[in-house]
Structures are given as C-alpha cells and as structure tokens.
Symmetry: D2
Subunit: 367 residues, 4 copies
C-alpha cells in the first residue's frame, strides 16, 4: 500500500441506489484532485460492475461542469455486482464467483493509487473487504436516502428525499381536508424510519408508523376517531415501507380479506389504508412515493454536504488514511474506519427528542 | 326566475374531485359579490350534499382571506350526492331517490337568488338539470384536472396538475439514466390524455400512451430498443390511466402471467412496466402519481384563471344569464349554455400540432 | 429564394435577452430537422454576432440531449449586434455600419437554405429586414419574457417569469403581514404590464401599477389606508418597471426630496416605496426582482410551447413559408408574416376581463 | 420565581426580523403546552411591543391549525420596542425610557408563570435582562436567518433562506452563461457570511465574499480572467451584505467614480459589479435578494427544528430551567444559559472544512 504523498491517480465509483448529490460528490472529487493536488482521475462506470469489467473513463474538470445541481450520477450505478460474489452464468447455470482479483488487476492496469467509493452500507462493506482482504487503498463516502448509517450525523441525499416527502404530504393535506378522507403516504425506510418520522413531523401528519415502533392499528383508529370527535373529518398517515404491526394484529385485516395475500394487497401503506376504511368507514387512499424520493435536484444542504464529502475524501487519500470513510460530526467533516462504519444500521432512538416532539404536537406513533 | 338586477344573495358550492384553484374561485366569487355588487353569499358544504341537507354558512370577505394560494376548498367537496339520484337507506335497503325538491326548498330558505356551481362534467350536468327541470338560477364554473371539458380552452387545476406530473418526470429522469432503467409513470386521464401528453412532452418522455390512441406495446419495445441501439440504456414512459392497448394485445402479458388478474397486476402503468421488463430484460419500475396531482398550491396561471372565472360567474349572475357557464376563449372570459358545455368530453385530437410536435421530437405514441 | 422542398440545411440563432425555453426551442428545431426531415443544422453563436462574425457550429441530436428543462441557451445570446447598424471602431472612432452582406456571405458559406431566428421584437425586426432587404429565407420564433408581442397569444418564457414573480409575492406576503409593512415588488415590463398584472392577481397584491394605466399615488395611499381602517396593517404593491405616474405627480416626492435625483432614488419601485413611507408612516421596503425573472427551469407550459414552436418553425421551413413567424392561436400553432408581427407592442387592454377581475377582487390599479 | 411544576399558564412572543419557522415554533409551543401539560397559553402581539402595551390574546389549539408550513408569525413581530430603552415622545421630544416594570406588571396581570421568547440576539438579550434584572421566568428559542448565534449548531430559518439564495443562484447561472455576463448576488449576512458561503458552494459560485475574509477585488478579477482564459465567458459572484474590502482598496473604485458616494452606488453588491465591469469590460449586473430570504414556506428541516425547539422550550419551562435557551447539539435538543447564548456572534471560522472545500472546488474567497 502506498502512502498518500505518492498518490498521482485516483479512481472513483458510485454504488447502490440512486441518490441526489452523487454528481456533486463526483464533481468535488474531480475538482479537488485535479485543481488542488494535480492528480488525475479515472471514473468506473455502473458501480462495481465497471471495476470488474474494466469499463472506465478519464474524468477531467470539463466532465463535471454543470453537474452540481443535477440528480443522478454521470458514472451510472447499480445495486448488483459484488466482486466477492459475482453472479455469472457458467454452463447454463447461475453461479456466484469471487472475482475480486479482477478488481485488483484493473486497479493496476489504470495505475490507480487510491479508490474512492461513494455508496451505502452494501457498497462500503465491499470497500472494506477490498481494503482488508485485497489491500486496496480504499476511501469511502457515505450515501443513503434513508440516513441510516451509524457513523455519520447525516448522509447526503436524505435532506432532498425528506423535502420531497414533505411536499407530497403538503399536497395530500388539502385534498384530505376537502374530501374528508384519510390519506396514507408510504415512504422509503425499510429498516429505519427517518424519512417517515421527519417528513411526518414537517408535514403535520396525524400518525406516523416506523419500523422501530411496532404499531397497533387500534391506536391509529383511536387517533382518527379523536379527530373526528372534534370535527376534523380527515387524517394524514405516513408509513415507512418497513413498518410492522404488533404481533398477530394482521388478523384484523384477515377478518376482512378471506384470503390474505400481501402481493394483492400491495405494500404496507395500502394495507393500512384498507384497514382504516374498513374500521372507520371513512374513505381512505394510499399513495406510494417510491422512486420520486431518489430523484430530482439536491437541496442546498445536500449539495454542500456532498461537496464537503468529495473534497474530504480526496484529503483522506492525500493523507494516506485508507480504509476510512468521511463522515459528518457537526459542524466538521471527520473520518472513521470503514470497519466501524458498516454493518450497523442507525435506527430512530425511540426516546430521542424528535420522537418526543412528535408526540407533543399530537402525532400518534402507533403505540 | 328572477333577473340579475334583482339579485341580493347568492349561493356557491364546489363539487366533484379536489382541484387546485377551487379556493381561488370561491375567493373571487365572494369578493366580487360583496365588494362590487353589495350581495351576500352563502356557501354550501361538501358539494350537493350540503345543498340537499341544508348544511350552509354565510361567507364574508374575512372567510376568504389568505386562501388564494391554497389547494383544496374551504367548502369541502365530494363526488357523491346527486339530488336527482340520491342514495338513501330505507328499511335497511339502499335506494336512490329524487330529492331535488329539497334543493329548491333550501335555496328558498336561504333566500338565494342565484347559485354558482363550481365543478366538472358531473356537477355541471346536475346544475344543468336543476336549471332546466327545477328552474333554479344556476351559473357554472368549469373545473377538471383532466382539462377534458369541450366548451372551454382550459379548466383551472390542469396547469398545476401538469406541472406536478412534469416535476415527477424530471425526478425520474435522472434515476432512470443512472440506473439504466425503464420508468413508467401513470398519470390521471381516464378518458382524455391531456396530462399524459403534455407532461410527457414537457418532461422529455420517450413514449406516451393516451386513451385517444390505442397502443401497440410492440411500438414501445421498438422505441426502447432503438434507444438502446444508440447507447441510451434507459427510457421514460408516461401512461394515462385510461390508456388502452390495441385489441387482443394483452395476450402478450397473458403468456407471462398464467392467470391474468388486473387487480393483482395493479393499474395500466404497472402492466406496461411488467411487459417491458419481460420483453426487454431491462429493469422497469412503475409509479402511480395519483392524488398528488390533485393537491398543492395552484400555479400562477390557475390562480388567475380561477379568479377570472369567479369574477366572471358573478357577472353572469348580475346579467341574469342563468343556465350558462363561464369559459375561456383565449384571451377572453366568455360564457356558454350549460346544455352545450356538458356531456361531451374534449379528447386529444390525434392530428393536432401538439401530437405532431411530440412525434417530431421523437416520442413514441404507441402507434 | 429556394422552396422548402429543397431544404437540406438550416441555421438557427437565439437573439435578445435570456428567456426560459430557448433551449427547448433549439432542441425541437434540431430533433425535428434531423429526425423528421433528414436536414442538417448549424447553430450561430451569440445571436446576430455569430452570424456576422461567422462563429457557428454543427448541431446534432447529441448536442441537445438533456437541455429541455434547462434555462438559458446553448447558443449564447446578446442584445447587441444588429447587422444593419453594426457597431465598429474605425480609426479610434465608434461608428455604425451596415454589414448585412457579411450575413448573406456566411449563410452561403455554410450552405444554409433557411434561417430560424428565435427572438423578441428587436431580433425579429432584423429578421424581417434580412428577409425583405436581403432575400434571406428567414423563419421567426417569438420570444419575450414580457409577453408583449401582438401577433401571438403567448410567447414562451412568460409563464416561467410569471410564476417566479408570483412566488416572490408569496414570500413577501408573510413578511409584510408579520411586520406590518408595505412591500413593493418591481417586476419586468417596460412597455406592457403583463407580468405585473398577472403576478399581482396571482399573488393577491393590493395594488398593481402598470405602464398602461398612469397611476395616481394618492389612489395607492387610499387603498393602504382603507386596509388599515379594517385592521390590515400591511400591503403588497407590484410595480412594472415602466409604470408612470399621472402628469406632475412626482412633485409629491419632490417635496420630500429637495433635489430629485432618479438615479439616487433607484427604480420606480423604490420611489413608490419611499412615497408610501413618507405619506403613511408605515415602514415600506422595495425589492427589484430583476434578472431572477429571466432564469431558471421553464415551466411545463413554456417547455411545451417552446417545443411546439421549434417543431412548427421547421415545418414552416419545409413548406417554404419564409418571412413568417410561428404563433399561438389557441389551441393551435399557426403562422403570421413577420411584417405583421413586429413593431407593435401588445399592451394590456385596460378594459379586458383580467383588469376587471383585478378590480373585482379589490386590487387598486392606480386610477 | 416559581418552579416548573407549578406552571399553569405561559406567555409567548416572537421578536426581531421575520424568519421562516416562527409559526411552527408557536404551534409546537401551544400544542405541547395544552395537550401534553394542560397549560394555557397567552400570545403577545408584535414582539416586546405587545408585552409593554399589553396587547395579548389567548392561544388555543385551533389558533395554530394549518400554520406549520406558513412563513411569518401569527403573533406579529418587530425589530423595535426594547422595554429597557423604550422610545417615547414626551413633551414633543423623543426620549428613551426603561419601562420594564410594565412588562412585569403585564406578566402578572395575565397570571403568566413562564415566558417563551422566540428571537435573535437582540430579543434574547432583552430576555436575559428580564430574567436577570427583573426575575422573570424566561425561556429562549434561537432564531436568525443568518445562523450566527454561537450557542447552537443551527437556528431555524437559515435552511430556508439558504435554499432561497441557492435557487436564485441557479436562476442567475443560465442567464450569466447565455449572456457572457458577470452576475453579482448580494445576500444577507451583516456580520457572518453563512448564507453567502453556503449558497455560493451550493450554487456553484465562482467567487464568494464574506465579512470574515476582507477581500481584495484584484483576486476576484483574477478569478474572472482565469475563467475567461479557458473560454468561460461568465462568472457568478455571491456577496454578503457585510463583506468588506481590504483597507484602501475602495480607491480602485474611487478612480472610476470621481465623487465616491456609497448611497448613490447602492449596496456592496452593486459596487462590486461596477468594479468588475470597469476592470474587465464584461457586462456585470447585481441583484439584491433582500427580503425574499425572510419569507416563504419553511423547508422540512426548519419545520422540524422549529417543532423540536417549541416542544423543547415548554419542556424547559416544566423543568423550571428559566434563564435558559433551547439549542441544537446535533443530534439532540439541549439547553444553554441565555447569558452564554447572547452577545457573541458565530462567525465563519476561516479555516473550517467548508471554507477549504470551497477553495478545493475552485471558488475564490477574495484572498
């Protein structure tokens, strides 16, 4: 492994799901590397796929002109293609192979002295493995829509997704009120409920269901009834896709649906909407926000954080601090070993002040 | 029937689905009536329901302060409650009854000299019947998200829905491109494809499927393949909810799905996405924009049109032109008999210049 | 002059001030020309300057990828450089020369069979002269922020500027109300008050001053006082940059300012704000929206209109209808001779229904 | 002074300049006080003015319905009216008097057990004095657009202002590029450059001038020239209103302007624009964003932070922790004595990583 002072050429890739701010990180990496340190930069295409198949291109300052405010990634990305478990078809059969040696080879072919991996828990775990097992000089940049990485105060992309979800709630609000309806918005968050909790608070939701707090649907009914009792004939419910009912509660729905079929019922948002309509008799509608949360122009915060991360990652490279990841320790950008950064999801602490504030303004959290 | 010059008191109601700009119309009606003509105004709650059940309240200028930029309607609205076919439960049985006499009675109770009905084809048809059958002094204001009323250049609400759909396409664009995916966005438009066509053009879609042009899914495949051939590994498809395949074509999907079940498959957007993924092998995702198109702050255009309609409706009242509806004949607000305005849907003319422009910029329209 | 059927190669330029949608027109021109008609396209840089100095480049479909939603123009633009009065320095002296022969020469050098000029009244007037005096095969596309071209229902760019101004009023509203202030927003509109009138209606302004209606500042005071009388301690005034007081009225201010100095006083918005503060004693602030109205992503409407104009302009070329300009005759794109289209500004008709609606909702128009 | 456990009734006021999120704090205070602690709430109107003149009203949960997403403050606010230096006219003369005893009296008249002051450095300093000198049970909530309070990671309102400024830069970008112009945007920040620095990074500015770094205009010229050398014929400069040139440098401008007159020249943004145009010969324009930064709907972040602050302030009250202020110590809401929170402005540390990141992406900071 080389020290940072000898770095002449770096590689960069974006892995995992799309996230607003990826382009802003790439831009900052390229500008910092070339302008401040006279390095050259190679971009690998489509995440680890490009690293394995050696699809790469030189990145110059001209390549990153104008991409700061744009969503997506000029390098492409994918959720697949783990070099340690690479899916191949051999003799007509699907098999998984360790092709990490190809990665090492390609790094050498391009004469790359350091590799910056921009990704979420999955991509950074691969980065850690490449660093630990293969000795590659890896530096990480944390990215998730869900804001559920434990080693940083915030990931870029989250603030944009949060504002997108909040705007959606704002839009549903007037329709719910005019039509006396219950509107159920399903947002991202398979394991952690940050988007649901925060957009629900920001949008003035009446109930928020998150994975961290198994919900009793009865509590949601109570909330809706208590609003109806004071003349509020509508409610807004925000549901994280990973929200789970307390054990056994799905039976409430099973009574309604003779044959329970989750695929037919759609996601959790749809289930909740149907339960509410069955119970309360109020018209209920569910909306799945889905990929709209991954796209669009990044907010100012995400552009700034992404820029700081990109510049910070190159600085880690120059200091030879491989196997580390940039992170936000407000108000500073610091770093943390990849080994500490991955594998643990940052859940919503159920007694933090944000949760308390939600309850104080009257939001039902399902318990 | 009284002439406009003797009008002292008017009623107003909002019927049908939610639509950005309803509040702006109500505000203009109230301000014009009270400030310019010294009338008083009664608002009926929840569309025709309030007119039947006599749920009404006085509206003053103070009641409409600050509502201009807000979505929804302070009067509430509903899709149900036709006074000529009013759903009731009598002796445990659901029956439909003509209760239009109650409407006449309530109009008299409130001493109302004219009734302004803000609604879509359904509400305006009831308005026409109340005018023709019951002699009520009705004036209409055209409202649809779908812009499919034949007697006016544009309905308020459409411009806002169009911008919401276009922003959604903008967001999906970067993700589709970064992930090499096909994104299918299903937008409103059961009978007319205005939102799909216009948002598709504005968002730079690759294919747009509308009810007016039965589509061949093969044409969509061809478009996606032709893009792939020149290195564009993603596509955006916009589908109106009422889009229909050419006869028999669903068999393509049936081969895939042993038991064809439209409920299980979700809406047309989902079906199209699955067909594309099956055929092309490219990852495809569908998003249903749904109620997000009905909410939110109205655009400048919709606020202005709504204000002009509201003022224009009161002017029709003052001129005693009952049984008419305000309409936009660019650049002027004019009027048209309700009898001409309802019952006929304004479809996208398949040879108009907007359709041609879509083809010229390379958009596949499914045929 | 050649007929459209022999057209093989077209030129395009953007002239005058920046305007959202220019890129959308260029994109539609290039795609329609190349995809639908197998033409080739040359883009001249920086308006007529590029045509005079022969700064041009080939435009392919790849050059217009992704520019649909972007403000500005990839060709550059300028307000200067009239080929009939071209500013040059000869022997140290600034002189104006007719260099229109150079334009003809450059058109020939590039083998261009038709020239599409996207611009406002100034650029289209030059286009008309090139067509009439030099016989160049010119086709025009109307562009102004101000929407003041007489030959078309609407120019692209206006809808975006209108929404930008309306959002600004929305923002000022809450501050005005919280602080009990008068906020004066100066918007574009040197000769015609469309932006001021429409954004004022959409934003719920209390007074709107436009060039078409010379204002009495006393009327504005009256409006502010009448609001104060009913407890509304704030007001919003929208002023077009070309608004003019009734003769002699500036004396009101002159009494305050011993030495009247318009430069020192800033624009008309600032003058009005100072007059109001002097008269009423209420804190007043002025904001000049300026260039913010020219930038940003075009709205859905402007993207669609720009796309239709671009496709329509190429169609005019193919039909050999030179000396004409595309225009919107709602709901169709049609055309009109350039000779009819330029030289006459479309003012706000002071008795149209939009003006009446403004008065009906209680807006003071200064008279 | 009473302990928190005996609190039955609280007062609340908003002081200082307008700021997005004030309503969200008021809403959270009212809901938390009434729903969670069965308190009653009195709102004082127009900051300390209402407290001095006893203009107050009861606040119920109904009063705060729907205000979460709205800018401004339902209580009104003002920058004036310090009870310790209250401006009065006595015998025709303007004098300042200490009327703080009236404040104590009014607090007693309303039976208020705790007073929540939402304000910036000025209002919180008065709050500290009321607590220390008069023994009033004060709790503070930090608010500034400028984010320059030292005792909290962030104030609410800043994120919204930052996004407003960033959107403005986005809009100016395309026009600057299309017109080959230098655009100078003047943003808020009299003492601290947070808005300028962060919006400049987020918007991709070429130069950013902040109060913390006295600038050499020559450095700005160099940046513009170096861009011109590589064909970039435009630049964006963001200037905080408090930016200051290095000593003596104004002479550069004085050479141009025979009689230097800052009022005539307008704000610092205008001065910088004129210097650049004089030096480089490139057309330069300045825009003053002004009050647009104080208005509008708060972002999701600001709504959430405001809600947490409001709930947290009531919690401080219930714990009897008077003389303290809620603050954000990411990720938690904590508290700090008012005595520590006021009087010291949080400047941009000139060697923090955000400043370094700005330089790394090539931004000129004027030194």
């Amino acid at each position: 492994m080389i020290s940072g002072s000898k770095v002449r050429r770096i590689g960069v890739l974006t892995g995992g799901g799309d996230c607003p701010g990826l382009n802003a990180v790439i831009r900052a990496v390229v500008k910092t590397a070339i302008n401040s340190h006279r390095l050259s930069v190679v971009g690998f295409e489509n995440g680890f796929g490009g690293l394995i198949q050696n699809r790469a291109r030189e990145l110059t300052v001209n390549d990153v002109v104008g991409i700061l405010p744009r969503g997506g990634t000029i390098l492409g990305t994918t959720n697949r293609d783990n070099p340690f478990k690479y899916q191949m078809v051999i003799k007509g059969e699907q098999v998984f192979r360790d092709v990490s040696d190809r990665v090492v080879e390609n790094i050498n072919i391009h004469g790359i002295d350091a590799l910056i991996i921009i990704g979420g828990d999955g991509s950074l775990s691969i980065g850690k493995e490449l660093y630990e097992e293969k000795g590659l000089p890896v530096v990480g940049v944390p990215k998730t829509i869900d804001n559920d990485l434990s080693a940083t105060d915030q990931t870029f992309g989250f603030d944009t997704a949060l504002n997108t979800a909040t705007e959606a709630i704002d839009k549903l609000h007037t329709t719910a009120e005019s039509h006396h309806r219950v509107m159920v918005l399903e947002v991202m968050g398979r394991y952690a409920g940050w988007i649901a909790l925060q957009s629900g608070i920001a949008g003035g939701a009446d109930a928020i269901l998150i994975p961290e707090i198994p919900y009793s649907i009865e509590k949601v009914y109570e909330k809706i009834y208590s609003r109806r009792d004071v003349g509020k004939m509508f409610s807004i419910v925000v549901v994280a896709e990973g929200a789970k009912p307390l054990g056994g509660e799905m039976t409430v729905l099973r009574r309604v649906e003779e044959s329970f079929d989750p695929i037919r019922l759609g996601g959790i948002g749809n289930i909740v909407a149907r339960q509410i309509e069955d119970e309360t008799g109020m018209e209920s509608r569910s909306i799945v926000l889905g990929h709209l949360q991954r796209g669009g122009m990044p907010t100012a915060f995400d552009r700034i954080l992404a820029t700081r991360y990109g510049a910070g990652a190159v600085n880690l490279v120059m200091e030879g601090r491989f196997g580390e990841m940039v992170c936000l320790r407000t108000p500073n950008i610091e770093s943390v070993p990849l080994a500490e950064a991955v594998g643990e999801i940052r859940m919503v602490p159920i007694d933090n002040d944000m949760v308390h504030a939600a309850r104080h303004v009257g939001i039902c959290l399902g318990n």
